[in-house]
Symmetry: C2
Subunit: 315 residues, 2 copies
């Protein structure tokens, strides 16, 4: 067994910083302040454009990561925003992951990956472990501390990650209850046994999670994504599954309030981490800051978010 379970480490860091917030870094060039785009505007297509684009995206993340490192315990990188910029975006991601780790953040990769067998093992190497060449050389990819996983393919799609968690101290979050309106179409299907699909699936997730939990630890290294936009359901899931750590999207931009979200916490105010992406990244526009002060605005918004949630935590 690893010395530390990802969810335990994450939980400790949350209480250290008295903050269950998760900094979602989902950059679009349209969000970047003008001064970071200056060199990109002049770049020639090809290697120069790639280098300048990677640099602009990384510098944006760097400013935000630096501004919040004493305030926010963990960062979530949404893969789509990096993939959309090809190699440049993924180079920026790789550098941002390295920086985030060195600043003490727990790093969650939001890839919602899903596949089986050898393919799932390849995803585990891409995002949690690492690849080796047949000559023993390490190949750097996008190694975070945890990855989001979609379990539509059943246990075959979860086991290759779980095998990795047994020995590595890393974590995964299974996509259980999403925050978007049409998530219901599949997740709320009415089953013959009277339950909704997500209720049955929650039990399956809990069973997978329980297999990996060391009984001395409150939370399994397998957690779940539970959207904040359905507070009643989230409250019931929290009650029924005390050993599942929740990653909670939907706060802020998607409409859920801090009170909606608070049902995800356990009695001590632990067991959940609350994502904010646009609400934190774009604070400078919302708060009317000058573009060169965008990171300061995010820091201010992060402090306000911490204040909102720390009232639910018991120390």
């Amino acid at each position: 067994m690893p010395e530390s379970n990802f969810m335990t480490v994450l939980g400790e860091r949350i209480f250290e910083l008295k903050n269950p917030s998760l900094l979602g870094l989902d950059p679009k060039l349209e969000y970047l302040p003008e001064y970071l785009l200056k060199d990109l505007a002049r770049a020639e297509a090809g290697a120069e454009l790639e280098a300048e684009l990677a640099r602009a995206l990384f510098r944006y993340n760097e400013e935000l990561l630096s501004a919040c490192s004493k305030i926010i315990p963990a960062v979530k990188f949404q893969m789509a925003y990096y993939e959309q910029y090809g190699i440049a975006g993924l180079r920026a991601l790789q550098d941002s992951i390295g920086l985030a780790k060195s600043l003490g953040y727990q790093v969650i990769i939001d890839g919602k990956r899903n596949d089986i067998g050898a393919t799932a093992e390849a995803y585990a190497r891409a995002f949690l472990k690492e690849s080796k060449t047949p000559f023993g050389q390490s190949v750097p990819a996008f190694q975070g501390d945890a990855l989001t996983v979609n379990f539509y393919l059943g246990e075959d799609g979860v086991k290759p990650f779980a095998d990795e968690l047994r020995t590595s101290g890393k974590g995964i979050f299974l996509l259980l209850r999403t925050s978007n309106p049409s998530g219901k179409e599949l997740q709320d299907m009415q089953l013959a046994d009277g339950r909704k699909a997500y209720e049955s699936l929650a039990e399956r997730c809990a069973a997978w999670a329980e297999k990996l939990r060391d009984k001395s630890e409150a939370y399994s290294p397998i957690g779940v994504v539970v959207g904040a936009t359905y507070p009643k359901e989230a409250a019931r899931l929290r009650q029924n599954f005390p050993h599942l750590f929740f990653l909670v999207p939907g706060y802020g931009a998607q409409g859920a309030s801090a009170k909606d979200v608070a049902v995800a916490f356990d009695r001590k105010g632990g067991g959940a981490i609350i994502n904010s992406s646009r609400g934190l990244m774009n604070a400078w526009q919302a708060l009317g800051y000058e573009h060169r002060e965008f990171a300061k605005a995010t820091q201010e918004a992060a402090l306000a978010m911490r204040a909102e949630f720390s009232q639910f935590m018991k120390f």
Copy 2:
């Protein structure tokens, strides 16, 4: 509307080459013949390792793509195998997509991506469309002709792709019925209305697909993934949903025979494309070829696969 619908173009190409096979390129360094690994063995960590690794993976794909371009109509790149090698893998992927297109292949990206709203739009830019900088520069990413998509998040996760298909002539395949044993856990849940979950979900997929189908065309640009390992279910889906093009995994290495797979075809032998990854890639080892002749072995295996399936096609 675009001039051509992806599934129509794919179907025409299948009949041109009299072959419904899909070449799955899922490279692992362990599969590569020794002569392609020579320079990698000596590479220093850092930029040199990255460049040599990208070159080895690309040269492997290049040989296979060249050997099969007159035989096989389409290629499927499984993202996990490229992501596991970080920037090097993704550079090789980018170059391989470009080469595949120039050789006349239809290019399917197997990413099983899933997210909503702005994030799904970013995935569409990464894999189907392209990103632009605010200064109008094009950013090359991993643009294929079609992408596999997981619809666990409901229509919110499908619509951003569908919007793109309306104007681009590209396609998506929704992950409906996977070929792995535990796919049943979620996909076969018994619903209150007497159906299994996948049967209800199939109707939803068909409804999304029908919205995008030009009535002059047999198939919608939204197709579905239907594993070959459940032939009875596949036959029923084929009968009930005549306008959904099927991408069929599970042939060969996963145990389904050509007869099992044949139920996916429509009456003319169209409407389905059958993937083979390891069966084609690793033919040199199975057929006892020398490592320098690995691509010739794949070509031979591709001809044998074509012969097996062409009996089901009517010209």
